[in-house]
Amino acid sequence: MNATDARKATGIGAAVRRKEDFRFITGNGNYTDDINRQGQAYAYFVRSPHAHATIDAIDFADALAAPGVLSVLTGKDVAADGLGGLICGWLIHSKDGSPMKTGAHPVLALTHVRYVGDHVAVVIAETAAQAKDAADLVNVSYGELASVSAVAQAQDKAAAQVHPEAPRNTCFEWELGDRAATEAAFSKAAKIVRLDFANNRLIPNAMEPRAAIGEYDKGTGIYTLHTTSQNPHVARLVLSAFVGLAPENKLRVIATDVGGGFGSKIFIYSEETVCVWASKKVGRPVKWVAERSESFVSDAHGRDHQTHAELALDANGKMLGLRVKTIANLGAYLQLFSSSVPTYLYATLLSGQYDLPAIYCEVDGVLTHTAPVDAYRGAGRPEATYVLERLVETAAREIGMDPAEFRRRNFIRKFPHQTPVIMAYDVGDYEASLNEACRLINYADFPARRRESESRGMRRGIGFSAYIEACGIAPSAAVGSLGAGVGLWESAEVRVNPTGSVEVLTGAHSHGQGHETTFAQLVSDRLGIPIDNVEIVHGDTDKVQFGMGTYGSRSGAVGMSAIQVALDKVIAKARKIAAHVLEAGEGDIVFEDGRFSVAGTDRGMAFAELALQAYTGHKFPTSEIEPGLKESSFYDPTNFTFPAGCHIAEVEVDPETGVVRVEKFVAVDDFGNIINPMIVEGQVHGGVAQGIGQALLEHAVYDPETGQLLSGSFMDYCMPRADNLPSFDVGVTITPAPSNPLGLKGCGEAGAIGSPPAIINAITDALGIRDIAMPVTPERAWRAARGL
């Protein structure tokens, strides 16, 4: 294969099979639980069985005496060592200007437990079984208190209080948009459409449960944490600067192979904090691996909104204004980004794809006696899309206009477009996605398909969702002005070896996304070298200097752009060296298909030859050009990116049983340029599966009286399975993003963002009803079908 063919096979745009998959599917991955350290002991956490209680006493004498037990530690020990609590990294202000209100989030509970699963004590023993056995012997005297778990009750005067610092359990009362302008728009409306709905609470359920090993080196004073993190550098920063575990230079965090996160592994939890801290106390590495039941109660959950929304239209079906009031459940404590998800990641997307002149949104963030709620695949954007696309479809039906036509009439068509809710959309073609989706699903023939279903006693419906989302949130200064405690750039380092192979160190983090393949494709494409000569290194704070990790579909737009900038620097330096070696002017050096050559001559050298020249330093003046070939970049984009697209779902409902079958699902997405279409399609499939899961199956349910998690295992928490899903039809339209050099927008979350309203719109269409609550269980659909 010559260089051009090689590039076609493995470069940008090629559907390269994932390099990492062989390792994973043959059981050769190296996940945290696969790692075992010499002399390692095991931690087991004593968790609160109550939603809300005082801790009156902890008697662990029997546990300490149990076989194999090395130590039992409680919140008092954490406090005695002066460790800080866990933090929220995004400061939100209420309408009145006051900062958000919440109580401290201790690593191990001190005086109160605030949700079932809250961390009370840790037992460290020789084996995991001994730790668990001994944990049974820890006798905690609780003073049980009333609790509140439902978002709708949290602000009641009579509701139990989660933190004294937050009266009426209200963390913030935030607003966005122009209230007066929106009132004015509504006063001119010919038609106002109103809906109330909940966005159901979800539990992430990554395939690999969370895990950690903390280790302390007495000789150097360095701690090492192996953990399941989507952003190991952020973990190190938080554990160092805020929790105070160790200075940053004395803490190494390693998270290489991680089996899924969906947001839940962004956050810094008690368990890994304790493993690191306790490793010095017991003088042994300390390992903890979550059991699935622990994941259910203690991983940060997602969604859980209660919303009232209104859309104002003029007499021609033109949208005039949108008014939204949301109460968002934050759980018992704020996790790392809890406060940003229902605010800046939510209300800023409420303009959708539409030219909406006036928007006003209020969000109350409330605390409840439930697990913390934070970012989960889509983080705020699925909730926004649900609000808008349910309203839009309902409005179209109520004014008797075709839902596709109604959307066309209101699409934004001129770019850049400043929405009334911060975002400045740079590029897009919403009608292109809508038209392609209609074509793929054969929209015109839907009535015939509906008649066919009806002939079998079934009810068929179709539903649209034209979503927009924001990825790669940046630039850092803009994010900072909204309250973020961090910048959202990304770093990359390209190290060319003397033999011409390349290591790329990235601050982005792969936990299923396939970066080892897509990032290597970029390098293969740009340097013209085989993809197997490229190694992607991530997830180790000793190797990668700093990075912000992966979430919010940022790795392509931000992470790969950083690599691209570093590659440009590598090529620029290589060109200088080539000029000396080939004895030509720098301006005459052409770099093409992995070869440096002198324009118009047959003199040239392969990239690998140049790399060797760079390291020998024999043929260029090292006083002018440093030997070696290694460049890095900290890249900060100029804007968010705005992936958008159109999903259409077609469902069939069995009115006798209420079973909803998704018969067809079309997703047409504009992710900007695409590096690997197969991986992108895989991301869409996974996202849509999760979105259909939210719409039909998944529901985290707390008992309203006791605050116990009722859906605490897969027996009751319903994950989507292959037979719940149709074969998806996935299409693309492309408008390259202008805010980064590769024109990428991001594809990791779109599936979960766009799909839920499409499904609900289809079900309400099938049953001829206005609304139905997610998840649409068979019973809910059955009731709706009989008008119950």
Binding site: T657, S711, F714, T777, E779, R783
Partner: protein, 265 residues
């Protein structure tokens, strides 16, 4: 899981002796229910007595009248058995819809009916076919065996050896799975034989039960329409986060009708 002693006896007599001798023993069949319960620390037997080495208590045989299935026969073996498919296809169909492939290759019919989960499938077949449960001390008709939620006629330390299913004229099973666990939210087993029509329902109530009103109606006219208007008592239905009693009661009618329809073509 707590510590326990593990035994692997070779005869039923040895099992009986162990059961008599051990402090709080449990019989281990496929372990699909028992081991999970032990892992959650909801059960803590002192001894586990594994039945897998005992000859003669697994396997399937059929004659003109009955299909006999040994207690240790795995669900997958029932699902794929030619004898069962020929004699009582509904039983093979039912076994093939229990849990997932893993569960079907470990779980046993004896374990399933000893456990008598109110949402399990086999109890519907036993009651719907009028099977007999043969133990080491007696033979118990299905009508006397199932006593409500996780309750059976088994005495302490009694061992199920096999289940004898009389071959019906025909039979059908319709299962409405719980979307999450895929146990039966409602399962209706309908059979027709010289002895009459039987309709057994699992998943809906606190244990498998017969719908006698449906049996009477179907004995007169064996059509789905014969079941119109026959409803199960809502107050006696199970209720949980997945389904109300009202919904379960309605599903009984739908599933029973679909079972009958599949037999009347």
């Amino acid at each position: 899981m707590y510590q326990f002693e593990y035994h692997r006896p070779k005869t039923v007599e040895e099992v009986t002796a162990l059961l008599a001798r051990c402090e709080s023993p449990k019989i281990l069949a496929g372990g699909m229910t028992l081991l999970a319960t032990m892992k959650q620390r909801l059960a803590a037997p002192s001894d586990l007595i594994d039945l897998q080495d005992i000859p003669g208590i697994s396997g399937i045989s059929a004659d003109a009248k009955n299909v006999t299935i040994g207690a240790m026969t795995r669900h997958a073996d029932v699902a794929s058995s030619k004898e069962v498919a020929r004699a009582i296809p509904a039983l093979a169909y039912l076994a093939g819809r229990i849990g997932d492939p893993l569960v079907r290759h470990r779980g046993t019919i004896g374990g399933s009916i000893a456990n008598n989960d109110p949402a399990a499938d086999y109890p519907a077949a036993c009651l719907g076919l009028g099977a007999s449960i043969v133990t080491n001390s007696r033979e118990i008709p299905a009508d006397d065996y199932f006593r409500g939620m996780f309750e059976t006629a088994l005495k302490d330390k009694e061992i199920i050896l096999r289940i004898v299913f009389p071959i019906p004229q025909n039979a059908a099973y319709q299962k409405f799975p719980n979307p999450a666990s895929r146990y039966a939210m409602v399962g209706a087993f309908v059979s027709r034989s010289a002895a009459g029509v039987r309709v057994a329902v699992t998943g809906a109530g606190p244990g498998v039960f017969r719908m006698t009103a449906m049996e009477t109606a179907l004995a007169k006219t064996f059509t789905p329409a014969a079941l119109d208007g026959i409803t199960a008592p809502i107050g006696e239905m199970l209720q949980d986060m997945h389904a109300s009693g009202e919904y379960r009661a309605s599903l009984i009618g739908v599933m029973a009708k679909r079972a009958v329809a599949s037999l009347t073509g």
